[in-house]
Amino acid sequence: MYLKRNSQTEIYAKISGDYLEVVMLTGGIDVGTNAVKAVILEDGKLLSYYIGNLAKSDEEAGLIAMQRALEKIENRFSMSDIVVVSTGTKGKGVTFAKKFITAPCAISTSAHALYPGARTVLEMGAENTMAIKIREDGSINDMVYNDKCSAGSGLFLDYMAKTANLTLDEMSTVSLSAKTVPTITSTCVIFAEQEVISLVNENRDLSVGDIVAGIYASLAVKVVGLLMQVGIAGEIVFSGGVANNRGFIHSLEERLDVPIITPENPQLMGAFGAALFARDQA
């Protein structure tokens, strides 16, 4: 059971057993290019989350996502009880948030909270790829971004999935059965697609799995290149929607000497980090 101590603050008192605990509710909203993610934390622990589609405006998307996340916990609280921080490519549009932080800030916060020993973070969302070097205290030391060429982004995989007429999951699964990995020489996604089509038509020895492995290798090479620019120190925390792709992770691991750690819900790392940030801010 929860009691509100003061309707002006976001601090709740929770009755558990004979004790009255003060808890703090924070929320994070991450409006990305393809999806909106919302999380609700109670004292930094995940209470609820929601991943949904974008809406007509970023504000609306954020509002709906938070409402859905609240619905999942039977509307135990209302929006005004939560300190909300927003993030993401379009997070600035969420005007009801107390603060907006950049995606790198949010992601480095959550990566550090979950894996205090990690110094390198790789984030691959729908369109943007970034490599972040973080310090012992979780602050950002260096960062490299790719938002100019889709060949190094999750879009490359989406595009190829459409070309191959497979879902992202199907591609991932089939890639693990690859025997040889063909090299795709074109950088541009559009030209790479033509190369793939030629491979399919001209090389009868290659299986679908081989070709998908070739596609992953092409992306992995670019991503590793980005990581090298910030320097790889210790294990890499892999965040963002693309981190759900086992096949691609395998391709990356083959090119790296260090392990790749994937949190349970990699797509939520931005929102999670924003909600953690809210906790430190209040």
């Binding site: 007509k56 405006s57 938002d147 060429c149 889709s150 490359f156 541009c188």
Partner: protein, 262 residues
């Protein structure tokens, strides 16, 4: 005397037929996978229009993407040479031309005789090419040959952060969802194309005008933005898509007369 130039492009095959120093016919067809078949087909179309038979051709020169060997052509010249000569046919002076093709963009500096002085090309990135425009026009539900005119109705500046086909496509979809009018989106896209092209042009330099060729030259939106970006006159030759074929025909003619002299 009859001369023919055959240009096998990445998207279309073009033929131009000259009688002495006049253009008497031309034809164009969208290349399927079989370039040779396409070449024969388009040559027949052009011969038909000129009302002459293939045996009346004194010299045939081919050009184009992939440098396919055509059995009926006595010579094959590079894309660059054919474009340069094609532009030189209408503008016999030292100048810079910008060729925006289906899959690449070239900035070419030539002398008054159509010889190459300098050249720079982007063929690694599909951004700004004809393919790029097709993808964007498609996602906005606009026929690609109407996109240029439509963009002229733009009232508001929109900017794109990248020239990448997929990123621009995604941004365009977002803008559309937010209710931005299509002319504004198109104008923004063409602005990006103009920036991409002007970067290339700066590498070869240009005078008081730039000749625009290639399939995209017909797009008034791109031409307009280019003019704004470079500050110089953008000249579009008649039938810009035929420039390569015309240049090849011009070379055929020159080769024939050089042969006669020798």
């Amino acid at each position: 005397m009859f001369f023919a130039g055959v240009d096998i492009g990445s998207r279309a095959t073009k033929v131009v037929i000259l009688e002495d120093d006049r253009i008497i016919s031309h034809a164009i067809d969208y290349s399927g996978f079989e370039s040779l078949k396409s070449a024969y087909k388009v040559l027949d179309m052009a011969l038909d229009k000129a009302s002459i038979g293939v045996d009346l051709l004194d010299e045939v020169v081919s050009t184009g993407y992939g440098r396919i060997k055509l059995p009926f052509a006595s010579k094959n010249i590079s894309d660059l040479s054919s474009h340069a000569m094609g532009v030189n046919w209408h503008y016999p002076q030292k100048l810079t031309l910008l060729d925006i093709g289906g899959q690449d963009i070239k900035a070419i500096r030539i002398n008054e005789r159509g010889r190459l002085l300098n050249f720079v090309m982007n063929d690694k990135c599909a951004g700004g090419t004809g393919r790029f425009l097709e993808v964007i026009a498609d996602v906005l539900g606009v026929p690609v040959d109407e996109a240029g005119d439509l963009s002229l109705g733009s009232t508001k500046e929109v900017s794109f952060t990248s020239i990448c086909v997929l990123f621009v496509k995604s941004q365009a979809v977002t803008f559309r969802r937010e209710g931005m009018p299509v002319p504004d989106i198109l104008a923004g896209v063409f602005e990006s194309v103009a920036t991409q092209c002007s970067n290339l042009l700066a590498k070869v330099g240009y005078d008081n005008k730039i000749i625009l060729t290639g399939g995209v030259a017909a797009n008034v939106g791109v031409a307009g933005k280019l003019k704004e970006k470079t500050g110089v006159e953008i000249v579009i030759p008649e039938n810009p898509q035929l420039t390569g074929a015309l240049g090849a025909a011009a070379v055929a003619r020159r080769k024939y007369f050089n042969g006669k002299r020798g």
